[in-house]
């Protein structure tokens, strides 16, 4: 790739920052991203935010359920009875 170090734009940096959370970037790209992040507060903030979202999701997954009550949700009664019946049949 003939992209000079200083030529990376925020659009490419955002993509590489995201990719760096999935794999180790080649040295050249890693340096270019690091240089950009030192100069660009928005991208640096974006990168930090992505790590925060990851941490939040791993620490508290149940808060990301479909609705506010998800962390305290209970298996609905109808499903409970259905599953008990299925297990009972499985016994026989």
């Amino acid at each position: 790739m003939g992209i000079a170090l200083t030529m990376l734009r925020c659009r490419e940096v955002s993509k590489l920052v995201s990719e760096s959370m999935e794999r180790d970037l080649p040295l050249r790209q890693r340096l270019a991203v690091r240089l950009h992040l030192m100069m660009c507060r928005m991208c640096a903030g974006f990168a930090r935010q992505l790590r925060l979202l990851r941490r939040a999701a791993r620490e508290n997954p149940e808060r990301l359920g479909p609705d506010e009550g998800a962390p305290d949700a209970r298996l609905p009664d109808a499903a409970r009875e259905r599953i008990k019946a299925a297990l009972h049949n499985g016994h026989e």
């Binding site: 734009r9 955002s14 903030g45 935010q49 939040a56 506010e68 949700a73 409970r80 499985g90």
Partner: protein, 196 residues
């Protein structure tokens, strides 16, 4: 007969499973699948599979931990089923938010930072979670599922590729789009609520 020293440390009580572990497994599945019906299905599959495999329970971990391990696999199975290529969403990487978020030169149109002060403080705020949850729900199914397997479940990239039937570069695109869309969506929510 096994001698006394090889007795399992814990035993299984399938008759109590649904009452003792049903809610925990349901909450686990619900957070990851974001769909009550799918979560119920996974809970049922977990118990049925566990009943069939109860001879393989070593007695080392608790009954609950053993069931949760099975449930994790069932969640991934369901995600794979609902993203099968023949469901119509296969291969679809979802909308690309790049045009809306970057100008022609590749600079941010809007400051992507959604959190002021120490971002870590956001975790204490109810509004942060409200925005995160709501915006996750607005991603395409595939984007949300890729994000969930990667970020909530911490599966390795190659496992996710296998489950979703996509290449590594497609997974990176999916995740990047998911992250950009979450950023834009959360920003507009938090702005609307006057928190920025």
């Amino acid at each position: 007969m096994p001698d006394h020293t090889s007795q399992p440390e814990s035993t299984l009580n399938p008759a109590d499973w649904v009452d003792r572990h049903g809610d925990t497994l349901y909450r686990f599945a619900l957070a990851r699948l974001r769909d009550a019906e799918a979560a119920e299905e996974v809970v049922q599959e977990t118990f049925v599979a566990a009943l069939g495999a109860r001879d393989q329970y070593s007695g080392k971990g608790s009954e609950g931990a053993w069931l949760l391990g099975i449930c994790k696999r069932k969640v991934v199975d369901l995600v794979r089923r609902r993203n099968r290529p023949d469901t119509g969403t296969g291969g679809d990487l979802g909308p690309d938010p790049s045009e809306a978020m970057f100008d022609a030169k590749g600079n941010w149109r809007l400051d992507p930072r959604i959190l002021k002060g120490r971002p870590e403080d956001a975790l204490e705020r109810k509004e942060f979670w409200q925005a995160f949850r709501g915006c996750l729900g607005r991603l395409s199914q595939r984007q949300a599922d890729a994000f969930t397997l990667r970020e909530l479940e911490d599966l390795k990239s190659d496992e996710i590729c296998k489950e979703l039937g996509i290449s590594a570069s497609n997974l990176w695109v999916l995740l990047h789009r998911a992250r950009l869309r979450l950023t834009a969506c959360m920003k507009s929510h938090l702005e609307k609520w006057g928190l920025l």
